[in-house]
């Protein structure tokens, strides 16, 4: 079993769940509840953008939908580092849903566990998806690192 110790699991799940609450509520002053100050966010590959850019990237007038985080699995790297892989789904205004994935590096800080890196995938979606097609690149190998 590669998951972290029992005492850490619920704390990490709680932190992973905070992203949806912060983002969906636009509670930007609470970003530090979920992320380290120098955390990086990105797509499935390529560079990472500073977490400070999350707010301007989302307050563009584009419509966003509520996020639901599920299926979090945890891989212990060392005492203070865990790789987390979750699924998420959004529920659109028309009642349809879209699925995706997060892969995170979660680190133990003096304030508790925080996400230091998050990569987001829109999963595998067909050409007819409202936001266009995508193919999931995140894998078991990229999760375990």
């Amino acid at each position: 079993m590669t998951r972290p110790d029992t005492a850490d699991v619920e704390a990490i799940r709680d932190v992973v769940a905070r992203h949806a609450h912060v983002v969906d509520n636009r509670a930007w002053e609470e970003t530090g509840q979920a992320y380290t100050a120098d955390a990086g966010l990105g797509g499935e590959s390529g560079g990472l953008a500073p977490v400070a850019g999350l707010r301007p990237s989302m307050e563009t007038g584009r419509v966003f939908f509520p996020h639901h985080t599920t299926d979090t699995v945890l891989h212990r790297v060392d005492d203070d580092t865990v790789r987390a892989w979750s699924k998420y789904f959004v529920v659109r205004g028309d009642g349809t849903a879209g699925s995706g994935d997060y892969q995170d590096t979660v680190v133990r800080t003096p304030d508790g566990w925080r996400i230091a890196e998050r990569r987001v995938s829109r999963g595998s979606r067909p050409d007819t998806d409202p936001d266009g097609p995508s193919t999931r690149q995140l894998t078991f190998a990229s999760w375990r690192g």
């Binding site: 998951r3 599920t70 299926d71 699995v73 789904f89 349809t96 067909p126 999931r136 078991f140």
Partner: protein
């Protein structure tokens, strides 16, 4: 408000209910915390493995003689179950929520709700009831029963009660 004449009547289809099976399930004692966390991890890995087509990972979650009951099929054996999934290339995304874990005399049973999201954005809900056995490789799925909440005939409490198989 006027309703569209094209609106499917299934919008008002009542869900299946299993009060007797759930009462029997929840009468089992709660499982130890470490076991709960272990089986939750297996259930989540199951969704990731199927959705990623990671078949070796899927095999590693199943007992050699595991049984799957889904889509009116009964599939027996780790390899046969893996094969059953490989031919479903248009499978939806699998999200496991609402997991409740109980300890039985010889293992663990988990009752979850399985939310699947198809490529066209439609959503379906099912019960997933998993019986786990403890092995040298950790908790493995010995039996998985998947029962849609909507549509089809009521599967009946006897089918739903995977732990008594």
């Amino acid at each position: 408000m006027t309703s569209s004449p094209a609106a499917p009547s299934t919008l008002r289809t009542e869900q299946h209910r299993h009060p007797g099976a759930f009462s029997a399930f929840t009468a089992f004692p709660e499982a130890a915390t470490a076991d709960v966390l272990d089986v939750r991890q297996v259930l989540a890995l199951f969704g990731h493995a199927v959705d990623n087509g990671a078949w070796d990972e899927l095999r590693g979650l199943l007992a050699p003689d595991a049984e799957l009951h889904a889509d009116d099929d009964t599939v027996t054996g780790r390899e046969a179950i893996t094969e059953w999934f490989t031919v479903r290339s248009d499978a939806p995304s699998h999200h496991t929520v609402n997991t409740v874990v109980r300890a039985t005399d010889d293992g663990i049973v988990a009752w979850s709700r399985l939310v699947t999201i198809a490529g066209d954005g439609t959503v379906a809900s099912a019960d997933a009831i998993d019986r786990f056995v403890r092995t040298d490789d950790g908790w493995l799925i010995a039996h998985r029963g998947v029962h849609p909440r909507h549509g089809g005939e009521h599967p009946g409490d006897g089918v739903v009660r995977a732990w008594s198989a």
